[in-house]
Symmetry: C2
Subunit: 201 residues, 2 copies
C-alpha cells in the first residue's frame, strides 16, 4: 500500500474524513443550536471517535514516504490532507524559486473579531517562506523569522507568497507577505532557513 | 443570557462540544480504521454537522462581552473554549506582568515528524508575548515579532512564558520563550505590541 496507487487509495479513504471534520470545526464554533441538539450531535461525534479509535497509531502521523520517494506530510498542521486543522494549504513553486498559495481562513482561525489571529499569519509565513528553501529529501528548518504587521488580516480569501533573497552556504534568506482579497499586503516577513547537517529534522 | 450565570450556562452547553471535536481531530489523524469504518464514522460526523447547522451565525464567533464586561473570546484560535483548534491555552498573569501557560500539543500541531510546527511556536509566542500588553477593554495588536529557533520542539507537554522588557508610550516591548517538558528552551521571541488609538482592533 505504499506505491503511488496505494497512496492514492489511502488518500481516497482518509481525505474525505478530514474534510468532514474540518466542516464540523467551523460549524461547531458558529452553531447556536439549543442544548438538546448539541447533546445529540456530541453523541454522534463521540460515537465516531469510538469507531475510529479501534485501530490507532500511538503517535502523531509523522512524515512518511512511499515507495516512489514521495513525502506524505499528511499530518502537517498547515498542508496535511489528513489534518482537519490544516486549511489545507496547497503550495505552488515557480521554477524561479517564487512560492505562493491561495487559501480561505474561516472562524477557526480568528483572533480579533472578524480577523485572522496575528499568530496564524506568522505560522503561515513561517511555512511559505520556509518552502522556498525546501528541496525533496532535504528539508530546511527555520533559524529566525521576523514578522511585521501592517494592518489587520480579514478572515476570508487570502494569498501568501515568498521568494529567496539570497543563499549563503546552508542558509536561505527569504522574504514574503500575506495579502487580502483586494491584494493589499497585511503582514510582511523575513526569515533565515537552514539545511541542518545533523539535527535530524 | 449575557449575565455571569448566563455565560456559565452557555459555556456548559458548548464547551463539551468543542472538547469532543478536539478529540475527534486528534483521532481522525491517527486512525488506521478501514474504509468501511471511516465511511460510517464520516456519516455520523456529517449528521452532527447537519444538526448543528440548523441554527448558525453567518460570521465567525467574534469577541463578545457579557453584561459584567467580561470578554468572551470563545472563538479564538488559541484560547477559545468553543474553538476545537485551540488547545485551548489558559493564560496566567502574575501581578508583576509575567505571563505563562502550560499546555499539551498533540498530532494536530505537527510539522517535522514528532515535533511541533515551527510556525505554531510563533503563533503561541505571538499570543503569550502579546498577553503581557493586554489590559481589560484595551487590547494590544502585534507590531513586530521576531522568533529564534534554538532546537526542535517535541510534541507533548510544553510551557510558554513572557514578560515585559519596557514600555514606551503606546508600545510594549516583550520577550518570551517556549520550553519543553524538561525545561529546556526550544524557541525564543521578542515583540513590540501596540495599543492602537483608532485601528479598531
Amino acid at each position: 500500500m505504499s506505491t503511488e496507487a496505494g497512496t492514492a487509495a489511502l488518500r481516497a479513504i482518509y481525505e474525505p474524513l478530514a474534510d468532514s471534520v474540518r466542516r464540523l470545526i467551523d460549524i461547531s464554533i458558529r452553531t447556536e443550536a439549543n442544548a438538546l441538539t448539541v447533546v445529540s450531535a456530541k453523541g454522534k461525534i463521540d460515537s465516531a471517535v469510538a469507531d475510529l479509535s479501534k485501530s490507532l497509531t500511538a503517535e502523531s502521523f509523522g512524515v512518511r514516504q512511499n515507495d516512489d520517494g514521495q513525502s506524505m506530510a499528511w499530518g502537517n498542521v498547515l498542508i496535511g490532507v489528513r489534518n482537519p486543522v490544516a486549511p489545507p494549504l496547497v503550495i505552488h513553486h515557480d521554477p524561479g524559486g517564487f512560492v505562493w498559495t491561495d487559501f480561505e481562513l474561516g472562524a477557526a482561525y480568528e483572533g480579533p473579531a472578524g480577523h485572522v489571529h496575528g499568530g496564524v499569519c506568522a505560522l503561515i509565513l513561517d511555512h511559505v517562506l520556509g518552502a522556498t528553501a525546501h528541496k525533496p529529501g532535504k528539508p530546511a528548518v527555520t533559524g529566525t523569522l521576523t514578522v511585521r504587521y501592517l494592518r489587520g488580516t480579514p478572515l476570508g480569501s487570502l494569498r501568501a507568497e515568498a521568494n529567496i533573497e539570497r543563499i549563503e552556504g546552508v542558509k536561505t534568506f527569504a522574504v514574503g507577505r500575506i495579502s487580502d482579497a483586494s491584494g493589499v499586503a497585511t503582514v510582511q516577513a523575513e526569515g533565515v532557513f537552514i539545511h541542518p547537517r545533523s539535527r535530524g529534522l
